[in-house]
Symmetry: C2
Subunit: 414 residues, 2 copies
């Protein structure tokens, strides 16, 4: 499997927008142990490690696959697929470091197989794996995991639960926390459901399901920013180039976590019935962008740079002082987070009310320096707070990727 | 909008497989009243009825739309879209025939608009309607509706709740019954969610949500039969031609219901953990088809006619006496129902267990003559019963379509 954009056949699908980065023998890769490092030496392409890296089934099309192996896990820089399941687990009390290591080997092997269009080892319906629809499965660890398995020293520096945001949060523990996360994404909900079932089989002996939340995205043309259920163009300001990702998303340094990232996962309910009572200009003032195009109120096209100093005829800021755009942006460079959100619709809820919103997913190198200050600004003043309510919250450390023959987070055990 | 396949531009999407049938001035159309019949006289294409039939928004592509107006409702003969929500409602106690008529006018108008890529009247986020992704919304009536609104005489002859199937059913009322059904299908889950929200606004003053069940299908190539979560090719034997639909699906006669159909909706849980314990040959013997291709055990290709008399080397039927294929088929012609099922995955359930299966949807001209005898044969002997459990059940009369200027079920009020 070719890895660099230039090595791929031309195609028009969203898989063309980004490409996972070539696995180079860098400081991070060099930190991989034993056989993995040897495999890295011959490149990322399936390296002849028997069983673990056989070619994809003949009917699997390359444009249907996102490579599993690499410096970083798939499912972060990968263009967002249209269907997702986020599944959190709590480890059984008897799971120690050795058991967690076995679980991660199992998961890595099955994820690698399914990502390439091959069936998981225990799959009795392998036909359901043949068209992976850009399946990615991303594994994450909650802050609670490290102490539980006796690996407190491996917890990435500063990785901890979020501070409370009492002015806005109405958190339901049903939707938050967890020792382990599986983020399963594909362009086909059947593929997500089947992969989820295979991976639940792997986890059953080690962990108990804590919550599962499903989301979706519109299937727009490649490179077009999607809309959320409020109708807003959502996700305009995001890192795009590899250099952006290195600066904003990937953890740097020399420890085992180098090349990983941190996910802030927030279930944010939208109060659409009251939102509907606004007229469009009030909606646009709340966000700071046009509903029609997603352009900032000071521009004409989605990707125009907002002019935060511009004033309107009344002398007030054209992008209001408490507009979502202004507060989310803050003073630093524009792309402070990778946002890769999904919409959800579980309505009607138990009481018959609307239950829709966003599974907000933000990936970053340092939660304390990136998400937290942004969220503090938003919690204090965002006009949008009247129509959105965080009801679930969790953070996960997303370990770096691995090389053929290796497994996710292997550096944590060495 | 052209209506016959030959009048459409060549294209490769699934919308090409079938096409809604041209609205002709037939006995059924002639039964439509007043303005509707006049509009029929000038053809189905948007007939200049102001407001109700303005052209689609410029950015809406014709291949993204399934026409709402026609002899039959959309969402039955239409090729199945990849996402669906089935929403059942109970009418408020004070809803009489006049109120129901107002609700149906409201619903018909908004469904027509959204199907064409135009926003529902109360939509504050019209951008979410511009790419309808083959949206169809199909309206149905439960047996309980007619008495409630004082229209007992309009209940189609013989339309009633299903008989009990006590050997197999484990019905949860949470998933069954209902006065009114909205079946919302599109190739984009965001479109389904948005349409659902608009239509819930319409119903709020008239009815209470009873249950909502969501499903999905693999996004396979046009014309290819999908697989269910057991891995089986599912839906091979279905009416395909207009003549098949006239014989199997559409209600005939001279009353207001002519051109309608009847939906049997069953939520069928799959016991995949025990199903997984079978080897493939046992799975194939249970169904009577190969897992790999969907071919009957006596054939080599999916659409080969099964040889129910063939015997194997031991002298037993090659397709077992209690195989699902044999019992579903019975003695009559092969295509006795239109099956248009969706998979569901709501797992893990409240108890952490797997909660996956099929929203089985069967459309037919006569439930008593078509679904019921088939289900009696299956309930008595189907080998598959060990691994599937009906947990929800409902029936709905799906009124015929309407012409521009008209509304669904208008004949019921005349």
């Amino acid at each position: 499997m070719a890895e660099r954009p230039g090595e791929r056949p031309a195609a028009s699908g969203p898989a063309r927008v980004y490409s996972r980065r070539r696995l180079l023998v860098t400081s991070a890769a060099a930190a991989l142990s034993g056989a993995a490092a040897a495999a890295v030496g011959v490149g990322i392409a399936d390296a002849g490690s028997p069983g673990a890296a056989a070619p994809a089934a003949p009917e699997t099309r390359e444009e249907d696959t996102v490579p599993f192996y690499g410096l970083h896990q798939a499912g972060v820089q990968s263009p967002a697929q249209s269907a997702a399941a986020f599944c959190a687990f709590d480890l059984h009390a008897d799971v120690d470091a050795a058991a967690l290591r076995r679980l991660l080997r199992l998961l890595s092997d099955d994820i690698a197989r399914m990502s390439a269009g091959r069936a998981a080892l225990a799959d009795t319906a392998p036909e359901l794996a043949a068209a992976p629809a850009r399946l990615t499965v991303t594994v994450g660890f909650g802050p609670s995991l490290f102490d539980k398995v006796g690996l407190a020293a491996a917890r990435p520096a500063g990785f901890a639960d979020l501070p409370a945001f009492p002015t806005i949060d109405r958190l339901d523990p049903t939707y938050g926390g967890g020792d382990l996360l599986l983020q399963i994404c594909a362009d086909d909900a059947l593929v997500v459901a089947h992969a989820q079932r295979m991976l639940f089989k792997d986890t059953r002996a080690f962990a108990t399901a804590r919550w599962t939340q499903r989301g979706f995205l519109p299937q727009g043309p490649a490179g077009q920013t999607g809309r959320n259920l409020m109708g807003q163009v959502d996700g305009t300001v995001n890192p795009r180039t590899d250099a952006d990702f290195d600066r904003v998303v990937w953890s740097t340094g020399t420890g085992w976590f180098t090349g990983g990232t941190f996910l802030v996962f927030r279930r944010i309910r939208m109060e659409l019935d009251t939102w509907d009572e606004l007229d469009r200009s009030a909606m646009e003032a709340t966000i700071g962008r046009r509903l029609s195009t997603g352009a900032p109120l000071t521009g004409t096209a989605e990707h125009d740079e907002p002019d935060l100093d511009a004033v309107d005829a009344t002398g007030l800021h054209a992008i209001a002082d408490f507009a979502h755009l202004r507060l989310a942006r803050g003073d630093g460079p524009a792309a402070q987070l990778l946002r890769r959100p999904y919409s959800y619709d579980d309505s009607p809820g138990a009481d018959g009310a609307s239950d829709v919103g966003q599974l907000f997913c933000a990936y970053q190198a340092d939660i304390g320096a990136q998400f937290v200050p942004m969220q503090q600004r938003l919690a204090a003043g965002d006009l949008l707070n009247q129509w959105i309510t965080p009801v679930g919250s969790a953070v996960f450390a997303i370990p770096p990727g691995c090389a053929p023959g290796g497994f996710l987070a292997e550096g944590m055990f060495s």
